[in-house]
Each structure stands twice: as C-alpha cells, then as structure tokens.
Amino acid sequence: MPTVHFTSNLTRHVDCPPTQVEGRTVRAALDEVFARVPRLRGYVLDDQGALRQHVNVFVNDETVRDRDRLADAVAPLDEVFVFQALSGGCR
C-alpha cells in the first residue's frame, strides 16, 4: 500500500502521521487521509481543491505534475510526500 508522509512543518498544526492508503492517484490517496483527518484538507488544498500555491507533493522523488486535479498515478509501493515549498514563507 502507498504511504503518505507530511512535512513536520505541517504536523505542528495538524496531527498527521505517515498513513498507508489504497488510492491509486494522488487525489485518491490524499482524500483517504482527509477522510481520517478532515481538518488537514484546508492546509494542503485551496478552496477550489487544487494544491496550495506553496505546497509541493512528490510521488517518490518526482514532483506531481497535475496540481489541480492531482491525477498523477500512485503505485502500491510508492511513497507520497507532502512538503511546504521554500517559497511562500516570507510573511
């Protein structure tokens, strides 16, 4: 099963330990985590359901290409990483 990991910069706001999921796309994988931790959704996605501008998601070591629909594929042994971008921190 794929595992979704979250940056510690996010876990200090919301308790979201590494989670094993069944989803086969980034969207499906994240939705499974959001179903368990509803508050997390608004930290990762914007109001329209796209990745927030300054959040990056990787599948293994590849950054996701589809930041709006999150249709990138996830294989059973893949690891999904949710990071904060280095941009966006100037506030």
Partner: protein
C-alpha cells in the same frame, strides 16, 4: 393580715420567676444571649475580617487588554502599575491578519494567514490561554469552464467583526479577494454572501495594496443589525439594509487621483483605506481614502472631503470616538509614494469638532527619524473613547491616554503589526 398579704405577693413573684417559660420567652432570651455574645466578640470579628480582606484578591474592574496581531504571532498587553506587561504570545511565528475580542460574548478570535497552508481561524473562550481551530471562510468550489479555472481561494481574512447585539453568534469576515462571509454560529461555519460576490458591478473592483481587491471595513449599525456598510479597497462603499440579502453601491462625493478625470468621482473605483463610525451615531462615517479624508453624516450615502488637515491627509487608518460623533483620529503619512511620517515625525491627527479643525499630537511619539507606517487596522480606541492603541509595520506599539493626547511606547521590538484591538 398585712403580713399574710405581703407573703402571698412574694410567693406569687417567686412562682412567676420559677414558672416554666413559654417557647416565645425562650426565644427572646436566646436572642438576648446571642446579642451579648456578638457584642463581646465584635473586636475579634473585626480583626478577622480585616485579615481576610488583606488576604483576598482585590475586586476591581477587569483590566483592559490590548491585543496585537503581528506577522509573527498574537500578543496581548495589560496595564500593570505605570507600565504594561505582556502575556505569552499565541501562534508565535505565524502571521496573524486579524483579531477580534468580542466584548458581548467574551470570545476571542484570531485569523491566521499561513504562508504555505492558507487562511485559518481560531477561537479562544478563556482570553487567549487555549485555542480551538474553527472552519475558515472559504469560497465555494466552482467547476472549471472551458479548461479555465474560475474559482477563488481566500488569501487573507482582513477584518473580523461581530454582528449586532441581538445576534451574539453572528460574525462577519471581510477577505481578500473581496469576499464578505457571515457566520451564524460563532465561527463554526461560514457562508459567502453571494449576492455581493455575484454582483456584476464588482467587476469594477481592483486591487489596492494587495493583488486582489479586499473588504477591510464592515460597519454593523448598532440600531439595526441588518444595516451594514462595507469599505472596499478598491471598490468604494457598499451598503445593505436587509442583512446582506441585497447590496447597493454607496459613497458619493469621494474623488480619486488615480483614474482618468471623468472617472475621478466614480463611487465604484474609490480606494477606501479604512472606514469607522461612532456607536452613538452610526449616521456619521469617517473615511480615510487613498487621496484624502472624507466624512458622511447620512450613513455613508454621501461624503464631504476634509482638506485642512496638517501635516497631511494621506494615511491608512481612522478610529472613531464611540461616544462622540465629532471626534476621530487619523495617522498621516507623506503620500502614497512615500508612506512614512511627514518630516520623520510621527503624529496622530485628531478632530474634536466634526472635522472643522484638527490638531497634530506628537507628545510621546518619535519626533525625528521615524519611518513607521500605521496600517489600516493599526489604531483602535476603547469603548469609552479614552485610550487608544497604535501599532506600526515597523513593530512599535504605543498606548495613547487621555483620548490620544499623550502617547507612550509599550514595545519597540514587535514583529510588523497588522491589527490592534481593545478587549473592551
């Protein structure tokens, strides 16, 4: 015979004295004893009370707290002796864009603008010791049309305002982009006011200061909670008389210097920097505009420009005396291309005669080499109109006593200050 009579009388007296007492008589006697005892121990009781009074915490009116929303946390200051003491900051390191101590419910709200993770809203029911995250205002999801993204996302809660006294659970939030949101359950859920968001006239709004237009001022009429006026940067003044169901462009009489001459007076393109109204007379509206200072006496329908204000009419903030409709405070800067105090000397301009005359008050404020800017929500007056709190984008915080006649620096080392508010 006489002896016999005397003996009989004496016997009767003895009988009377030794006669079993009635219940009433017993009570009277007991009261007499209790009174005697009370009298006897009175000095002791007094001494005990005196000690107890000294040991017990003094009962005084709740102390005013000045809340300060900064780029790196929410700070709270309380008067202590001649100075001010700071409580432990909340959300340390996080940008706080708005703070609302709601005096009617005792609740405290803080809006965060996290650089990476979006807009968040928190509420404290114990004065800021513990916090609970609430739902943040968010725009409804809109499906893509022709492959183009149409929907918006809240970038920042610019202002948080309580509803009227008759609706203690109601909150209003003005955001960038320019959305107005209402909560009917003390911030647990939010609804976009779609009647305003979908108004075709909103297409004339444009960004001022930020990339997108935003709603920074929400005035709820204390006489009628359904009468609401908004200040939009840039989009002028908007008004509703039915709690937000319908809206109309308001604010005639303003003029700008950044549009072609024919459009200088157009209400929809006025850059309202901040709007404030006295609780005692909400028909009076004070307005700091990008190009000057304006005042309305008809609830924001029509404005009159006030030009005789030294050292400058440029600024971002205005505070209205809650109890005196003729008194208001502004903080001037040079002009839009040089947003610093005139001559490096920070002053607060105050009128006490409805805008006919102004005085520039600098007592206690930097007299030279000062580059502080007081932003839209950086000045607040308390409920009595006696104390002001003022915070700058340079991170200086001042308290103004005696109606802003005399200022004192509370901290010179805070992060850039976005908003200030009094607990009451």
């Amino acid at each position: 015979m006489r002896k016999t009579k005397a003996k009989a009388k004496a016997t009767a007296n003895v009988r009377a004295k030794t006669r079993p007492k009635t219940k009433v008589a017993a009570k009277v006697a007991a009261k007499r004893v209790a009174k005697a005892v009370t009298r006897a121990i009175k000095p002791v009781t007094r001494a005990i009370k005196k000690v107890a009074r000294r040991a017990a915490p003094k009962r005084t009116a709740p102390k005013q707290i000045a809340y300060v929303a900064t780029r790196k946390g929410l700070f709270a200051f309380q008067r202590r002796g001649l100075g001010w003491s700071a409580a432990a900051p909340a959300f340390l390191g996080e940008p706080v864009s708005a703070v609302l101590p709601d005096p009617s419910t005792g609740r405290l709200y803080a809006a965060l603008r996290l650089g990476h993770f979006g807009t968040k809203l928190h509420r404290s029911d114990d004065g800021g010791t513990t916090w609970t995250e609430l739902a943040a205002p968010a725009f409804p999801k809109q499906e893509e049309k022709d492959g183009e993204k149409k929907g918006s996302s809240v970038d920042m809660v610019w202002t948080l305002v309580p509803g009227g006294a008759d609706e203690p659970e109601v909150l209003w939030a003005g955001t960038t982009p320019g959305g107005l949101f209402r909560s009917a359950d003390a911030g647990k859920s939010w609804q976009l006011i779609e009647s305003l968001w979908n108004d075709p006239a909103r297409a004339k709004w444009f960004g001022g200061g930020y990339d997108h237009p935003g709603i920074h001022s929400v005035l709820v009429d204390p006489r009628d909670s359904k009468r609401i006026r908004l200040g939009v940067s840039i989009g002028g003044v908007w008004a509703s008389s039915d709690g937000g169901a319908t809206w109309r462009q308001s604010g005639n009489g303003m003029r700008n210097a950044y549009m072609p001459p024919d459009k200088a007076g157009e209400p929809a393109t006025q850059d309202v920097h901040r709007m404030a109204s006295p609780a005692v007379n909400p028909d009076v509206v004070w307005l700091q505009h990008h190009n000057g200072i304006f005042r309305s006496t008809d609830g924001g329908a029509n404005f009159t420009e006030i030009t005789k204000v030294a050292p400058s009419v440029f600024g971002f903030v205005v505070a209205a005396h809650p109890l005196d409709p003729k008194t208001a405070w502004f903080v001037p800067g040079v002009q839009d291309v040089q947003r610093i105090p005139v001559g490096g000397r920070l002053v607060v301009t105050r009128t006490q005669d409805g805008g006919s005359t102004f005085e520039a008050i600098g007592k206690g404020l930097p007299r030279q080499d000062c580059y502080d800017l007081i932003y839209r929500h950086g000045l607040a007056v308390d409920g009595a109109g006696e104390h002001l709190v003022m915070g700058s984008t340079t991170g200086n915080l001042w308290i103004g006593d005696k109606g802003g006649s005399r200022w004192s620096l509370v901290s010179g080392h805070l992060p850039p200050i976005a908003a200030v508010a009094w607990s009451g």
